[in-house]
């Protein structure tokens, strides 16, 4: 059982507030998506939940444990893993080394070989390129590697930040298929996406952010049908 409860989260950069007190609950084994326009605070939310930036106020509770003040690597140790926006691969290292680094946390280390076989089965193209420097991969392959690297940590909760950014429509579809497969395998996932239509299509639950606040939330299917959402996001996405 994994659960993440965020209460009253406030955070920002250099004294400028971005998040104005967010409440977010994740359901175990569900795919939750956070949507919203640029600058609505989606990425800041993920970064402050992870501890990459220090929250000003509020709490982040993982499986009953208050982890608000822990640093990112300590949270990773507890099973909270973020696949960051723009991939942030270790570009000077090989595919294999990137995956090995993914399996840094104590829980994942002994299982490294087995997990690697799993991700290679999921992304066979990575297996072909295992000796190559990450820098030399195509955009789609890099995104695969980023997700694969996250999976190597044996996450309890996987946070995905804009996995379709910069990808062609065909590769984007591939990516979403993979995410859905992970969801089906029982992994708890948070998906932050600009592609609102696609993410609402595969998500169980959705939060709509605007100006650093939760504007509305509910089952993805219902959120998708709301006229306001259709007008604001889906119209634009088409």
């Amino acid at each position: 059982m994994s659960s993440l409860t965020v209460r009253g989260l406030e955070a920002g950069y250099g004294g400028v507030p971005v998040l104005w007190g967010l409440d977010v609950d994740l359901l175990d084994g569900a795919l939750t998506t956070l949507v919203g326009s640029n600058g609505s605070g989606k990425t800041t939310f993920l970064r402050s939940v992870m501890g990459l930036i220090r929250p000003w106020r509020g709490s982040v509770v993982l499986d009953g444990l208050d982890v608000t003040r822990l640093s990112a690597h300590e949270k990773a140790d507890l099973g909270l893993v973020l696949v960051p926006e723009g991939r942030q691969l270790f570009t000077t290292m090989t595919v294999l080394e990137n995956l090995e680094m993914g399996a840094t946390v104590r829980r994942a280390r002994p299982l490294m070989r087995a997990t690697m076989d799993e991700v290679f089965a999921m992304f066979p193209r990575l297996a072909e390129r295992r000796g190559q420097q990450a820098l030399t991969l195509s955009g789609g392959e890099q995104q695969m590697l980023a997700i694969a690297r996250g999976l190597m940590a044996k996450p309890k909760i996987l946070l995905l930040d804009e996995p379709s950014l910069g990808l062609s429509p065909r590769v984007t579809m591939e990516m979403f298929t993979a995410i859905r497969a992970l969801r089906r395998a029982g992994l708890t996932i948070v998906l932050v996406e600009q592609n609102v239509q696609l993410s609402l299509a595969i998500a169980d639950h959705a939060y709509v952010l605007a100006h650093g606040r939760v504007e509305l939330s509910g089952p993805a299917r219902e959120v998708r049908e709301l006229p306001a959402v259709r007008a604001a996001y889906l119209g634009a996405a088409e």
Partner: protein, 287 residues
Amino acid sequence: MNLGALLPSAIDGLLLGFVYGLAAMGLTLIFGVTRVVNLAHGQMIAMGMFVVLAVASGAGLNPYVGVLLAAVVGLAAGVVIYVVAVDRVINAPELTTLLATFAVNLIIIGTATTLLTTSPRAVDVDMGALRSGGVTVLGTHLVAVVIAVAAAGALYAFLFRTRLGKSIRAVAADRAAAELMGINSRRMLALAFGLGTALAMTAGALLATLFSFNVLSGGTYETKSFVIVVLGGLGNPTGALIGGLIIGLLEGVTAVVIPVSWVPVIEYAVFVLILLVRPRGLLGSRQ
């Protein structure tokens, strides 16, 4: 101009280049991982010299025991410097970290000058010499090359073969991403600082077996390290080693054709030129 000096000078320069390269590797490793230009680098080189002095003249042991000890002391000293002076400002603008390490430099110079004085020192090591024709290669220089190559090799094995070493490379490539993977980046930064300092002190220790020195001798080697590091690409250890060889060779060869005192002019001109034309260095990758 007498070209009879060309071969021996080129050989001398090349051999010395290995030691220069080793020192520069330390500087470039620290920069590559932590993005800090370590202004205490030269002083750590000087401290390496004094470890050898203490071991050889103080304790009466083989000077090469001092070289080994310098590496160990350097590792510890580097970690301490990181924790005390750098960690708090690791994300601050360059000026801050530059001055933090400069402060460390002042502290070490001040203390060392008081305790050790600036008197000239020398460690007398006789490892014989190879002589052939007009070329004389001192044993100490050969041993220094062997140790420098071994140290560089050990560093590479560590960075590319061990999980800890790869974690350091991961932090160098992307500190935030490394954190997300559960790597304690502060620990890796401290370790990188320690390793870089260990290399600097090892290089200093080797220099002590070649030349005389005093507490303030690090300065020359520090600026030389800057030149080499830029030549090889800032943050690139292989580049630093090759840059060291290039500078060593350049020094040796140019000294034959122009007055020796003009050599630094050439060196620094090359330095500025490389920064302007190819700031990533001769071997630096375009990122």
